[in-house]
């Protein structure tokens, strides 16, 4: 990736990210399929960086998916968001820290709406009061969890056990970064590095010793696009969008894909399996796919966390070739063992994409 122009863009798009005392909120969908990512984030912040992170069991979905698929009205989502802000202040926190890119987009969009249309904010105050008896204040700082890891990337790199380097060749791993659409495409100045070439993941990769590679369809949607996927008849569009990205990045031979959005993670991981079954085509090396990792998994991996504790066996595109490439010490026999050493059900072996069970 050529750096000169991007460095100029990046200097124009730097945002304020809180230093401590985070009010963390989960992603609805990700905690069902990559639950280890959220726990890895909390572990990194609390145990590695010694930060204060609070998670409130009463917080709810932001209803973003419902809003974007037009089943949740704008008034409703504003009130739900206001309630989450109210809960944060009640617990004595002011730095809101969502781990979902769509939520981050929703929170940003609603704050912008309130800024431009104060009457909407007043309406929301009334609704929240009537519905829950609560009052709310806007957060002092709103940062996505990938923003926070970006901010502390050098501290993490300083404590890292591994680098994103090929153990055999000594060369930096080639990494494709994929940013969720709702992170900065709607409000470029709310993302680190803007919307064209966001720095938020590129910065992480470079700090950990990897090399970010650019490819033509870098900005293309991952394939989640809510209406493409939730309507089953439209899923051909969803998988086509992912396929377009894989076809475009494959000639550059990326070692893995890093994403900051739960949906992107899921679809780029799962659709590689589906495409292999449909078209007998794989995009990685030696019949494997291209591993797709969340930013927390990448940070946890370089810090030397156990990949199976981070839930990397939940990926449908096998991550083991990447672990071997870096030289991560792990126990293959524990891939499908539970927290107490019990045997977990083994996944079915796919027919056309390699996966080590």
């Amino acid at each position: 990736m050529k750096q000169e122009g991007k460095k100029r863009i990046w200097s124009d798009y730097q945002k304020e990210i809180a230093d401590d005392k985070f009010y963390f909120v989960r992603s609805c969908i990700r905690q069902t399929f990559f639950p280890g990512s959220d726990t890895t984030y909390l572990k990194i912040l609390r145990d590695v960086l010694d930060k204060d992170v609070y998670e409130n069991p009463d917080h709810t979905t932001c209803t973003g998916i419902g809003y974007h698929t037009e089943v949740v009205p704008f008034e409703t989502i504003q009130t739900v968001v206001a309630r989450n802000y109210a809960l944060m202040r009640e617990k004595g926190y002011e730095n809101y820290n969502p781990s979902c890119v769509t939520s981050f987009g929703i929170y940003t969009e609603i704050l912008e709406t309130w800024h431009h249309f104060p009457e909407e904010k007043q309406k929301t105050r009334d609704y929240l009061k009537k519905a829950t008896g609560r009052e709310f204040e806007e957060p002092a700082n709103l940062a996505h969890t990938s923003d926070v890891l970006f901010k502390f990337r050098n501290e993490i790199a300083a404590k890292a056990k591994y680098k994103l380097v090929n153990k055999e060749t000594g060369k930096p791993l080639k990494v494709v970064d994929h940013i969720g659409c709702h992170y900065a495409k709607m409000f470029p100045n709310k993302g680190v590095g803007g919307a064209e070439y966001p720095q938020v993941l590129a910065g992480l990769v470079e700090a950990f010793g990897g090399e970010v590679i650019d490819y033509p369809e870098r900005r293309h949607c991952c394939g989640f696009g809510f209406r493409q996927y939730f309507v089953q008849a439209n899923r051909g569009y969803s998988i086509s969008a992912s396929k377009k990205k894989f076809e475009s990045m494959a000639p550059f031979k990326p070692d893995f894909i890093i994403t900051n959005c739960p949906g992107c993670n899921y679809f780029m991981d799962r659709w590689q399996y589906a495409l292999a079954e449909m078209e007998h085509k794989t995009y990685g090396e030696n019949g494997f796919g291209i591993p797709v990792l969340t930013y927390e998994e990448v940070a946890g991996m370089v810090l030397g966390f156990d990949p199976w504790e981070m839930g990397m066996q939940m990926h449908q595109t096998d991550v083991e070739p990447l672990l071997k490439k870096i030289g991560v010490e792990y126990d293959p026999s524990k891939k499908f063992k539970g927290a107490n050493g019990e045997d977990l059900p083994l996944p079915e072996k796919p027919n056309h994409i390699k996966f080590e069970v």
Binding site: Q232, R235, G236, Y237, I239, A274, L275, E277
Partner: protein, 111 residues
């Protein structure tokens, strides 16, 4: 072969690094307003020929930018040169002249 109930559609990728951009450069040299087009479609919305045929000035511009020279030239033949689109264009692109240039290019490019 697993049947998931849906399948990928044909991938339509235009690699601009490999596109034949001679026509695009040739037109831009002769009429700089070509570069101002933002593909808003006002020209196509107001087009009389487009009402009765499949002609679209906007698509023709896309073809030029993608290096699809023969498609662009074929498209230019459908225009009646009435010039209404020139009045509708919010960017002051000399649309009528662009069509004439594409037709002229046909003699130069021998597509």
């Amino acid at each position: 072969m697993v049947d998931f109930g849906f399948a990928p559609i044909e991938i339509n990728i235009h690699d601009l690094d490999k596109a034949d951009l001679r026509l695009s450069a040739w037109i831009s040299e002769r009429d700089e307003t070509f570069k101002l087009c933002i593909a808003c479609g006002s020209c196509t919305a107001t087009c009389t020929a487009g009402k009765f045929t499949k002609f679209s000035f906007r698509e023709m511009c896309h073809s030029i930018r993608r290096g699809e020279i023969s498609e662009a030239i074929a498209e230019s033949e459908k225009c009646m040169l009435c010039g209404k689109c020139t009045l509708a264009c919010p960017r002051n692109v000399n649309t009528r002249n662009i069509v004439k240039l594409v037709r002229k290019a046909n003699q130069n490019f021998k597509v």
